[in-house]
């Protein structure tokens, strides 16, 4: 038996040997030890009394956990399309060359590795990277040089200049949500209305879930409240992983009072005493600040037992960190992740409000939805419902990035037109806008009179602007890679379909595609939509579908002249043989340059 590492054992004990915390334990162990060794796996498994395979399942599921050494400095460049447009690849290559590294390969002295990752929620201030999970936005060549110097000098991250880690809110337009409510005011208002009264106001407001699906929040709360059982949970979905979105980052940074009190109000209405904030790993920079606020709330009687003196209003909040996994934004996957499992979606029914976290009724609400609850507590549902449209009430935060003068967070009443938003953010000569992130829709100028609303263009808030010169094929290809990387692997159509889609897009990009591939893409997209287990697979082909429908020439000009080019590339097929024989001379290649 390997000897238990005292550092790891201490972390396991800190979490009271509770297996639901395995992801948190692995995150902390990696922060201390730079990676998760087989010995760490053994120590965690035996400490938690779970099979080692359960620990390995979690370890291998999340992108930011490493089962092999990746260096003391682990630098990950965000690789969303907006980072691409802002030149992240040139910066990435500059860093690789300065540190004499290959992508994803740790330096021979074990000091550093540099690689790419999915969107990190910094599209308004990209290109961005994560240094050991800490965000560094606004990258320039000069910043890259500075980071390289710090790495070479082996400066501890805590001693890096604080300005490197500065994340701006970039709030450009405010209405009622981006307006502070003084601590305790919303709680008092909710208590004054009573549990049933507050629920009635929620229903009257017709607040719909801001994660994009638009389910009425009051109906969800009512379902949880009436579900059998004594224990209930509130989960704040702060895992905004949709490429192009970052509005929750701003709410959590500057309006956390509203988010946290919104959670408490949800607990009050539903009869839950415990809440979790599932915070995406990319937002680690917000963790300490949020924890301080939770502690202050507890000290000030706004969390804990008998909140604001109301007997029986007991509620507390815990932060649970994610570790890189887009799928964990799906409600049932998130609850699995909270339970210390891989973030795979569950089979529905039963719904979360019946059988959720640890089998108990659970409400999973978006950060923005919960923040809105405080507004409804204070002003009542009828006033709230006066804003927006009849079926999309209230305001919506939009995360704007890409080709515009003023990227950032904008708050609008539902019903605002795309054209108005583009005008406000200073977007000129726009060829298309991707709304709702990689899983959303691509709209062209003839559609800019359409409105942001559940009944027209629904969105969780991502709004990426593409200027006239942008190649929409590459936009779709970036998203195809994203989905192949983020598919959880649970169901056949998504696990295989996202890979097929990516491979076809790559074949077309190489100039080897034909009309056949274009038609095949359509079939695969439709297939994934119809047969996938969850929303990830259902929407994984949206970007490719829209690009095909609206930017056909971007595909056509890449197509091979013939009807079909075989998939096999003889030169590439020789690669395994070259690898096995250790040869790379001219004779080991099909044809040499110029022959």
């Amino acid at each position: 038996m390997p000897t238990a590492d005292p550092i790891v054992s201490a972390i396991v004990e800190k979490y009271r040997n509770n297996p639901t915390y395995v992801l948190q334990i692995l995150r902390e162990a990696q922060e201390a030890l730079d990676w998760i060794s087989p010995e760490t796996v053994e120590t965690v498994a035996s400490g938690l009394k779970i099979p080692r395979t359960q620990v390995q399942s979690v370890l291998q599921f999340y992108s930011f956990l490493y089962d092999k050494p990746r260096g003391r400095y682990r630098l990950l460049f965000a690789d969303n399309i907006t980072d691409r447009m802002a030149g992240n690849i040139a910066l990435f290559e500059h860093m690789l060359s300065r540190l004499k590294l290959k992508p994803g390969v740790v330096s021979s002295d074990g000091l550093v590795s540099v690689d790419l990752t999915s969107d990190t929620g910094m599209c308004d201030q990209g290109p961005a990277l994560l240094a050991n999970n800490r965000a560094i936005p606004r990258l320039t060549m000069r910043r890259i040089d500075e980071i390289c110097d710090l790495v070479k000098a082996q400066a501890p991250l805590d001693e890096w200049p604080a300005d490197l880690f500065r994340v701006d809110d970039n709030i450009r337009r405010r209405e009622t949500l981006l307006t502070p409510i003084a601590p305790g005011v919303a709680l008092d208002a909710a208590i004054a209305r009573g549990r049933q009264g507050m629920l009635d106001e929620m229903k009257r407001s017709y607040l719909r879930g801001r994660g994009g699906a638009g389910f009425p929040v009051g109906t969800k709360w009512d379902g949880a409240r009436n579900a059998p059982g004594a224990e209930r949970y509130i989960v704040c979905n702060a895992d905004e992983g949709e490429p192009g979105t970052f509005k929750d980052r701003v709410l959590l940074n500057s309006f956390s009072v509203r988010v946290l009190e919104g959670m408490a109000i949800a607990g009050y209405v539903c009869g839950a005493t415990k809440g979790f904030i599932y915070l995406r790993g990319e937002y680690k920079h917000l963790q300490a600040k949020l924890q301080r606020e939770i502690d202050e709330m507890r000290a000030g009687g706004r969390l804990g037992a008998s909140i604001r003196g109301a007997a029986g209003f007991d509620f507390d909040i815990e932060i649970h960190m994610g570790a890189g996994g887009y799928i964990c934004g799906e409600g049932t996957a998130m609850v699995n992740s909270l339970e210390g499992k891989p973030g795979r979606p569950r089979v529905r029914p039963p719904s979360m409000v019946q059988v959720g976290y640890l089998g108990k009724p659970t409400v999973v609400d978006n950060v923005e939805s919960l923040a809105h609850a405080t507004e409804i507590a204070v002003e009542g549902g009828s006033r709230f419902a006066k804003r927006g449209t009849r079926t999309s009430t209230g305001t919506k935060l939009i995360s704007i990035s890409g080709d515009c003068e003023r990227p950032g967070v904008y708050e609008y009443q539902f019903g605002v037109t795309i054209g108005r938003i583009l005008e406000d953010c200073g977007a000129k000569t726009v060829s298309a806008v991707q709304i709702g992130g990689a899983s959303g829709v691509l709209l062209t100028p003839d559609e800019f009179s359409r409105r942001i609303a559940f009944e027209d263009v629904p969105t969780a808030g991502a709004f990426m602007v593409f200027g006239a010169d942008r190649d929409i094929f590459e936009v779709a290809r970036n998203f195809a890679h994203f989905f192949a990387h983020e598919s959880c692997g649970f169901c056949t159509p998504c696990r295989v379909g996202t890979t097929i889609q990516r491979n076809i897009m790559d074949k077309i990009a190489e100039g080897r595609g034909s009309r056949y591939e274009v038609n095949e893409l359509r079939r695969v997209v439709e297939f994934m939509k119809r047969t996938s287990h969850c929303g990830l697979g259902e929407t994984a082909g949206n970007a490719v579908r829209d690009a095909l429908n609206k930017f056909r020439p971007a595909f056509e000009r890449r197509l091979h002249a013939k009807d079909f080019a075989p998939a096999i590339d003889l030169e590439r097929a020789l690669e395994p043989a070259r690898r096995i024989t250790g040869r790379d001379d001219a004779e080991a290649h099909l044809e040499t340059e110029g022959s």
Binding site: T53, F61, V347, S487, G489, T492, T499
Partner: protein, 240 residues
């Protein structure tokens, strides 16, 4: 009672409350294809072979409860084409070479390929690089053939109480892993008599020395009858 029926392809099917569509269909002698489902275990719902239309919406029959008045479509050209595509996806995702496989003729993936008239793999093969684990004295694991159905995971956890198997990794990196200090099957608690050894629907978990010593290929279970003939019992056939 009249209210406890639903229809499959317009035919009335009785059910008892709590039964899934798949269970009720099976009891009525109607075949709904499946790969990751097994009556002994909690439904998984991942392979999607049992996808049917319930009142026009796609659902997995192994997880969806039967309800009075439901109209379920099972055997339609569109659904069967969809099942063929699923089988093709499973084929190209792994490395499946039926002529050399010990499970040929008793393999559910192969049988589903025949059932749904899969005449070619259609998609470009991914040819993943996967290993074989022959470290156990009696059992071989051929990871090239694993379809991630999790039946061995469930059997080892729920029946054998050994937790020998688990799925790790995401997307195309998803793979079966083994609970032992070395990650090798030979160092795990697995015994050849374990239920987990018997439930593999494909040729991924193979008992050594019996693969070709039983009925010859051509005279095995699905060589004699198509997989759709198997509605009475869902027992996973052994290769003999």
């Amino acid at each position: 009672m009249a209210e406890t029926t639903f229809t499959i392809d317009e035919q009335p099917i009785p059910f008892t409350p709590g039964q899934t569509i798949l269970e009720a269909a099976k009891a009525a002698g109607i075949y709904i294809p499946h790969l990751c489902y097994h009556p002994e275990f909690k439904a998984h719902g991942g392979c999607k072979m049992c996808t049917v239309l319930v009142n026009g919406r796609t659902q997995t029959a192994c997880t969806q409860k039967a309800a009075a008045g439901q109209e379920v479509d099972v055997d339609t050209p569109e659904l069967n084409a969809m099942r063929r595509t699923l089988v093709q996806m499973l084929f190209i995702e792994g490395n499946h070479f039926c002529p050399g496989c010990e499970k040929s003729g008793a393999c559910q993936l192969q049988a589903l390929g025949y059932e749904y008239e899969m005449m070619s793999p259609h998609f470009v093969e991914l040819f993943p690089e996967r290993n074989i684990d022959a470290s156990h004295p009696d059992v071989l694991i051929e990871f090239n053939r694993c379809v991630l159905c999790e039946l061995c995971v469930r059997a080892s956890r729920d029946i054998d109480h050994k937790d020998v198997f688990a799925i790790a990794g995401r997307g195309q990196d998803a793979k079966l892993i083994i609970n032992s200090p070395t990650g090798k099957l030979g160092d795990s608690a697995l015994a050849v008599t374990d239920r987990a050894v018997q439930v593999c629907p494909v040729g991924a978990i193979i008992v050594k020395r019996v693969g070709f010593a039983t009925a010859p290929i051509g005279e095995r279970l699905y060589d004699k009858n198509p997989i759709s003939a198997e509605v009475e019992s869902c027992e996973i056939p052994e290769a003999r």
